[in-house]
Symmetry: C2
Subunit: 244 residues, 2 copies
């Protein structure tokens, strides 16, 4: 009996870690909520676990709330006209996803799927809008976040439109480095297939394979399976931006 109670208690703890003690929250838009607001959040939120490859939400669905990543790595992608996946963004601990659809009053514009096992909290729409309406600081934070996202996106449009495939690949490697950082070996700290990289760059898988080999020949990166080691970041920046 005691075991059962303990088990339930642990299970509850795991499924609903407290926002007050959540490390990911410190890095998120929820970082400056007061304790009242946190209690409210805790009461209404739920935390779910997803295995690598699982889908959190799908493009086209109506958003009922937003998701706050507690742990893990997530890719956001949309389907192109010919059925080809286009990766438009990544999320990691502390990032929120799925909120834009509520703000724009449009269906979800991307599919979120896990690049590794992840823990993701769900915060219902009402809670989100309550915060926006009652807390101007939170509202400004969301505005800043959305504004930055838009700014980044319009930068990406220019790049996609004007740069060669090789430059775009170099740029994506740098973007991945910024997003996920480097491990102790100077390798980008996320594992993506060549196909997934192609779906970021917007090219064919074969092209990515060839161009990665080129970058290796030019001593800008080293390759070891899926691991990509950054050898010459400055060189990649020059290549990507044509500053030469």
């Amino acid at each position: 009996m005691i075991f059962v109670i303990l088990h339930l208690a642990m299970s509850e703890k795991l499924n609903n870690p407290s926002c007050a003690t959540c490390g990911a929250r410190q890095k998120s838009v929820f970082c400056s909520l007061n304790s009242d607001q946190l209690v409210q959040m805790d009461e209404h939120k739920g935390c779910d676990f997803y295995k690598k490859g699982e889908t959190i939400f799908k493009e086209g669905a109506i958003a009922r709330g937003l998701f706050c990543v507690n742990k893990g790595k997530i890719k956001l992608s949309r389907m192109g006209p010919s059925g080809k996946e286009q990766i438009v963004r990544f999320a990691k601990g502390g990032d929120i996803i799925g909120y834009n659809s509520m703000l724009s009053r449009r269906p979800l514009s991307a599919t979120a799927s896990c690049l590794e096992d992840s823990a993701v909290c769900f915060i219902p729409s009402q809670q989100f809008f309550a915060l926006i309406k009652k807390d101007p600081n939170f509202s400004l934070k969301i505005l800043e976040l959305t504004a930055k996202n838009w700014d980044d996106a319009s930068r990406l449009i220019t790049d996609m439109a004007q740069k060669t495939t090789k430059q775009r690949l170099a740029e994506m490697l740098l973007w991945l480095k910024e997003t996920f950082g480097l491990d102790e070996d100077n390798c980008i700290d996320v594992k993506l297939s060549r196909e997934e990289i192609a779906n970021m760059v917007g090219t064919a898988t074969e092209a990515v394979i060839r161009l990665l080999a080129d970058l290796k020949k030019e001593n800008l990166i080293a390759l070891e399976g899926k691991k990509i080691k950054m050898l010459d970041i400055h060189g990649l920046v020059m290549l990507a931006d044509l500053i030469d």
Copy 2:
């Protein structure tokens, strides 16, 4: 003497048309402001006139406020790495521009220049933030606007990355049609050079010229100088989206 007074009165009216009676405002994010808020706006705003080709603000500068288009057509573009212009957005009467930079706390990410003679009001940063902080409805409107802009941009990223030049051109023509509408002749109601179209599509001017000729041969459009007549919108949609 009377003439002088009249002249001054007219001049003042022209340079500072009242927000309360502004037709463009009805279509803008400022549409539901109350009379107190309008008086505040009128006191602090200023209206400027720009000739075709003139620049309203430049990429990289720090925004001191936002601009609300009263009349005219404006293109927003950024410089690509090799000095090539990339058009990322358009604005017309009722649209606001330059606000994203204040929200993202980053320098202006695009240059705004007039496609035709335009009247544009300037609203200082403080006024804008005062509205956001005091009026949750206004705040939500800006959030919705920014969210939609981001959504559109990420859609555009997918298109740029995956579609052929011809598909992108078709898409841009449809976008121009949505933005500026058609005149009585079914022609897109804005005049752009082939080079400017190329700077939207992200390709060379020659490619645009050739592809426009192709579209004409396929009876999707008709050409008459800078005027582009939409003959088969459904056909263009099919071409752009590969729905066939």
